[in-house]
């Protein structure tokens, strides 16, 4: 018997192919290495120093002494181990590559669409590029980060990904939105 496991994405079968991208677009990342880093007691500053975002990975605020680290360089299987080594005794690292789904919402109306479910002020002055927050989007919790003037990443628990995409479609009802899987 051959054991070659194919990973299934939480949104497989829920997102159809699209002919073209619309003005606003929701891109679902198929694979992403994700880890949660919890600074050891009293070691937040040390862990933060090591977690400065670079080309390899990006550390996003997820709570006091907690970071959501994403990487497209490292594989889901190796990111957590890699971070553990680098952080040494300063933090605990937990793989969440399968526990979270990453969506990128971009377009001129991105902030306006999100304002239909998220209470945080998304004006560029108040929520600049790189700022991250754990927010409530209607009924769902997610980690939101501004990745550009007109683009945001939404990181949501896997089991809620379908519900979030359904919600985003309704939130974007008055705005031209397309949804598909990211090409890379």
């Amino acid at each position: 018997m051959a054991y070659d496991y194919q990973a299934v994405h939480a949104l497989d079968g829920m997102i159809g192919a699209i002919a073209e991208r619309r003005a606003n677009h929701l891109s679902v990342h198929r694979t992403m290495a994700i880890a949660m880093v919890l600074a050891g007691p009293g070691q937040t500053a040390e862990a933060a120093g090591i977690l400065v975002s670079n080309g390899e990975f990006e550390a996003r605020f997820s709570g006091p002494g907690e970071w959501l680290v994403l990487s497209q360089v490292h594989a889901p299987e190796t990111l957590a181990a890699e971070l553990s080594v680098r952080l040494g005794g300063f933090a605990f690292v937990v793989d969440q590559s399968h526990g979270r789904v990453v969506l990128t919402l971009s377009g001129p109306d991105a902030a306006r669409i999100l304002a239909n479910g998220i209470a945080v002020d998304l004006h560029a002055d108040a929520f600049p590029v790189g700022r991250a927050a754990n927010v409530l989007c209607n009924h769902l919790s997610l980690n939101l980060v501004r990745t550009g003037d007109q683009s945001f990443d939404l990181v949501v628990m896997r089991s809620f990904a379908g519900a979030l995409v359904d919600d985003l479609k309704v939130m974007a009802r008055s705005h031209d939105l397309s949804v598909d899987f990211a090409t890379r």
Binding site: A10, H98, G99, N116, D121, H123, S159, V170
Partner: protein, 985 residues
């Protein structure tokens, strides 16, 4: 004919005609009309019947405080009752109907109530419908509901879409009149993020109906110029058609935007209404002032309006309220209306001033009566004449409209919604907004500055102060030169003595002066009591027009100042908000999010029937061809697991990783059983108590490393346990060095149970999982063939040899498929939560059906787990309290049904054999029940008084809901494999 469209004037677009219907009659209006102005232009004065007496009523105002001009707009499921005609924007194809009349508006049978009014006084319901008590629900209430009330709602589903949005700003300006525009302009030029919200569909407020030139041009032109500048400012958001209805904590405002209430054909891409939550650093209420009606006999007849409304209809809409208008005023506003009408060539029948003297000058040729009043009006469905009184001399004066002005009240509703009480101003004879702190100020007429120039100055000044408070440089504006201004001074006149007929105070709820007198006489003179007793201020308009007069009248009757009477409590909403808007998009599938297991696709492919379990969709059972009932499927699944093996999705269990040097100590205090000495690589059942000693949740604790644990919770309390842990870590024991994190979504977890579980699993797992290498309660990382990392736990809920295998969620389906393939030769089946339930019930394992918050560990038969030697754990202290240790507490037992054809159900109660079926004889209850294919009969878990001493006793299971009594035998709750030989095999 009386009301009519003037030949010229107004801001309506006369080149653009709109068709609409009222009670089926086809009428026309113009773009820029409200429904009210268009109805007036068509001389439709009678719009509805009043709430209680069914008196004919017409339009009274030109704005959102309208008490009478309520109509139903639209039809079918889109029917919108109680729409204020004075706010509704006219559109082509609008269908409006009158309300609270039968059989027709003109001939209404309910009007007999008016003749019976001496029997329908205030407090009438309380006094009359007290007895017999049983009559209230069946007879009185339905009758009253049919006779009283206004618009009716429909049951069909609302087909419209709604939306809820958040907005943020430095300054929210409520109201786009002169003060609001000036404030917004200063803030905009100073670079603040500004939101200007206005309930009207045109921005400008009083400037739209004002005639004095502003900056040398008509005021509406000036307003348009300012709006244009604001529109072009990127830092300004204009929100027309948006009513700010509530002021909440943290300076959050609720506002309702009517997105598509002005069109017949809806754009499906847009919501009909949008509910805004506006988070404002500062807010300026520039909500203007409301003109008071005068309380005189017959003051409710169609054709009687506030003077400012008469002016607005003439100036803004080019509509004359009548051909011959009588004006009754207690201040200068009546004179201004006289000027407005005279300027447009409308005849003024008489101008009656309640004051004996004033500096106000009536237009040339207008008959002025000083020190006079109106004591009655004549006419049936519209006013035909007024009975004027001066010094006891009565005179009938013909007219077809009456403009009344009782002075002005600042609109301060929002400023009082968070507990602040309005403050009486003797100088202004009005209630003013309380000091609400720097985050909310009133400006312009809302702050008692009534003159146009004062409004501009006040708005600009207050905005400048806010700009500076925010730390920016305020850019001032130059106030335009304003033409001749009116100073609307007045002498309060709460009610007009000598009324010859009912003088209404609250028009919408038909409360008149006599009702208030009765309230005072009967001891309900306190303003909050009088409100409830008379229902004054309790209608949909919430007394916007009438409350102030009611307070003045109560003050007069009690011989005190209005300051002493005070106001009733202000609460959101300022105007009614539809339920649709409040729900927003959270309807149907969006009312609660659906949560899908990583094995959902696998279960669906295997034919699962799903069931809602909280937010989760869980596989309930897996029917095979030929199985007609769920029981057939479940019985087969149970037998298969007991004889061969089964695979069940348990991914929905809460999963939490716990780290840190004090992780063991932390968990030891969290669970009631010992955890500290749990060896690495081992799992243990864990029981958590609440502080009160009752069981909170159960699950497993596995030690993956010296400082690393993995705990599971029940599906239902996954979130609750995490919060509980956060509380314990942050509040109870901040000194413990521990960190934890939910990994519920990272892992797909499946239970493989049955005597052949090991053989099947070994085909997939690389590591040795023989009984010696991986004994009962082993827990550690393993590698699957194909090089996939996984975690394996040898734990059992079914009582069989069983494992729980966890793999990264994305691989869940592939691994489940592999296990099903490997298990096929062994006869494996997929099983769902129904079978899971039967299996655990046969084994006597508890779930939240048993652990329902009233149960101690000892009640559930788990008393031996309590780590009584531990220094402390949550629930330890209160577990020892009297009552929790009593010998006659209900204890977990098993029940075997003694009558083969009968089943028992959870919720049934237990009685001694021979006892009368009554809760007085209650001995306990059934917590869960099922048919056991293994035992071939119905069994149950139950809680029975001193149950463990009563094994073998025959008792009665009393199901009062079904009216059934069934004999059962009390037994040990573990029905299968009491010696755990299967578990350990």
């Amino acid at each position: 004919m009386s009301a009519f469209r003037l030949a010229s004037g107004g801001l309506v677009d006369r080149s653009h005609t709109l068709r609409f219907t009222f009670d089926g009659a086809s009428l026309t209006g113009h773009a820029g009309d409200t429904l009210a102005s268009a109805l007036l232009a068509n001389d439709r004065l009678l719009l509805g019947r009043s709430f209680k007496y069914h008196r004919p009523r017409g339009i009274m105002t030109a704005g959102p405080s309208e008490p009478n001009g309520l109509v139903t707009v639209g039809s079918g499921a889109r029917r919108d009752p109680n729409t204020k005609a004075t706010v509704a924007e006219l559109y082509d194809g609008l269908e409006a109907r009158s309300q609270n009349r039968w059989p027709s508006l003109a001939y209404d049978i309910g009007a007999v109530n008016n003749l019976m009014s001496r029997f329908l006084s205030a407090g009438f319901y309380y006094k009359t419908f007290m007895w017999p008590a049983a009559f209230w629900e069946k007879v009185y209430e339905p009758l009253i509901r049919r006779a009283a009330g206004l618009g009716r709602t429909d049951l069909p589903r609302d087909p419209d879409a709604y939306e809820k949005s958040w907005a943020h700003c430095d300054l929210l300006v409520v109201g786009a009149g002169p003060a609001g525009l000036a404030a917004a302009l200063v803030a905009a030029r100073s670079g603040l993020r500004v939101i200007l919200a206005e309930q009207d569909f045109v921005l400008g407020g009083a400037l739209l109906s004002e005639t004095a030139p502003v900056g040398g041009e008509p005021p509406y032109v000036f307003a348009r110029r300012v709006v244009e500048e604001l529109q072009n400012s990127p830092n300004v958001t204009l929100m027309p058609r948006t009513t700010v209805f509530g002021w909440y904590d943290d300076n959050v405002f609720g506002a309702l935007e009517r997105v598509q209430k002005d069109v017949a054909a809806l754009d499906a891409a847009k919501p009909v209404e949008r509910l805004w939550r506006i988070v404002a650093k500062h807010a300026i209420l520039a909500t203007g002032a409301e003109e008071r009606p005068l309380v005189f006999g017959g003051n409710d007849r169609p054709g009687i309006m506030t003077a400012s409304a008469v002016s607005t209809y003439a100036n803004r809409f080019g509509v004359a309220a009548g051909k011959s208008v009588a004006i009754f005023t207690n201040g200068s506003s009546g004179y201004r209306t006289a000027q407005d009408l005279a300027a447009r060539g409308v005849e003024i029948a008489v101008l009656i001033d309640s004051r004996a003297a004033s500096g106000d000058v009536a237009p040339d040729g207008v008959r002025l009566v000083r020190g006079g009043s109106i004591v009655d009006t004549k006419g049936r469905q519209r006013v035909r004449a007024v009975v004027a009184d001066r010094g006891g001399f009565e005179e009938l004066i013909g007219c077809d409209a009456v403009a009344m002005s009782g002075g002005w009240s600042p609109v301060i509703h929002l400023a009082c919604q968070r507990g602040g009480k309005p403050v009486w101003s003797e100088a202004l004879q009005a209630f003013m907004a309380p000091e609400a702190g720097p985050a909310l100020v009133t400006a312009g007429a809302a702050a008692g500055h009534y003159r146009l120039s004062e409004c501009f100055d006040d708005g600009a000044r207050k905005a400048s102060a806010i700009v500076e408070a925010i730390g920016r440089q305020a850019v001032g504006i130059e106030r335009p030169v304003i033409g001749e201004e009116t100073d609307p001074s007045f002498t309060a006149l709460w009610h007009v003595p000598g009324a010859k007929s009912k003088a209404f105070v609250d028009f919408q709820n038909d409360v008149h002066t006599g009702d208030l007198g009765l309230a005072v006489r009967e001891g309900f003179g306190h303003v909050e009591h009088a409100k409830r007793y008379t229902t004054g201020g309790m209608a949909t308009d919430q007394g916007k027009l009438g409350n102030i007069n009611a307070i003045g009248i109560l003050a007069g009757m009690r011989g005190v100042s209005p300051a002493e009477v005070g106001t009733t409590t202000f609460r959101p909403f300022y105007t009614p908000v539809s339920f649709g808007a409040l729900a927003g998009t959270s309807v149907d599938g969006h009312a609660m999010p659906i949560r899908r297991s990583p094995l959902h696709g696998w279960a669906a492919r295997n034919g699962a029937v799903f069931i809602d379990a909280g937010l989760w969709y869980r596989s309930s059972w897996f029917p095979k061809a030929g199985e007609k009932t769920w029981r057939e499927s479940v019985d087969r699944e149970v037998r298969t697991v007991r004889e061969n093996a089964g695979l069940c999705d348990v991914s929905t269990l809460g999963k939490i990783e716990v780290f840190g040097p004090d992780a063991a100590e932390f968990l030891s205090r969290l669970y009631c059983n010992p955890v500290l000495k749990l060896p690495v690589g081992k799992a243990r059942y864990g029981l958590m108590l609440r502080e009160d000693g009752m069981v909170y949740d159960d699950g497993t604790v596995s030690r993956l490393g010296e400082d690393h644990f993995f705990v599971t919770t029940t599906t239902a309390l996954a979130g609750g346990v995490l919060s509980h842990m956060e509380f314990a870590a942050q509040v109870l024991w901040p000194d413990l060095r521990v960190r934890f994190l939910s990994v519920s979504d990272q892992w797909a977890q499946m239970s493989i149970a049955g005597p052949k579980a090991r053989a099947i699993l070994q085909a997939v797992v690389e590591d040795d999982i023989s009984n010696a290498a991986f004994p009962f309660l082993a827990a550690r990382a393993v590698r699957l063939k194909g090089n996939l990392k996984a975690r394996l736990f040898r734990i059992s809920f079914s009582g069989e040899l069983a494992y729980e295998l966890a793999v990264p969620a994305g691989y869940g389906e592939a691994v489940a498929d592999a296990l099903m393939r490997a298990g096929a030769p062994h006869g494996i089946c997929a099983y769902g939560v129904e079978t899971l339930n039967v299996l655990r019930l046969e084994k006597g394992h508890v779930t939240h059906a048993e652990l329902d918050g009233r149960v101690t560990p000892d009640d559930a038969g788990l008393g031996r787990m309590m780590g009584t030697s531990k220094p402390d754990f949550i629930g330890k202290r209160l577990s020892a309290r009297f009552g929790l240790t009593a010998a006659d507490r209900a204890q977990l037992v098993g029940l075997k049904v003694l009558e083969p054809e009968k089943d028992i159900r959870a919720g049934a109660h237990l009685l001694k054999d021979g006892a009368k079926p009554s809760t007085l004889n209650d001995q306990g209850w059934v917590s869960s029940a099922c048919f056991s294919p293994t035992l071939g009969g119905h069994i149950a878990l139950a809680f029975l008084k001193s149950g463990r001493e009563r094994y073998g006793e025959k008792i009665v299971v009393w199901d009062q809901l079904r009216g059934v009594e069934t004999f059962a035998e009390v037994c040990d709750p573990v029905f299968v494999d009491r010696e755990n030989t299967k578990l350990m095999a």
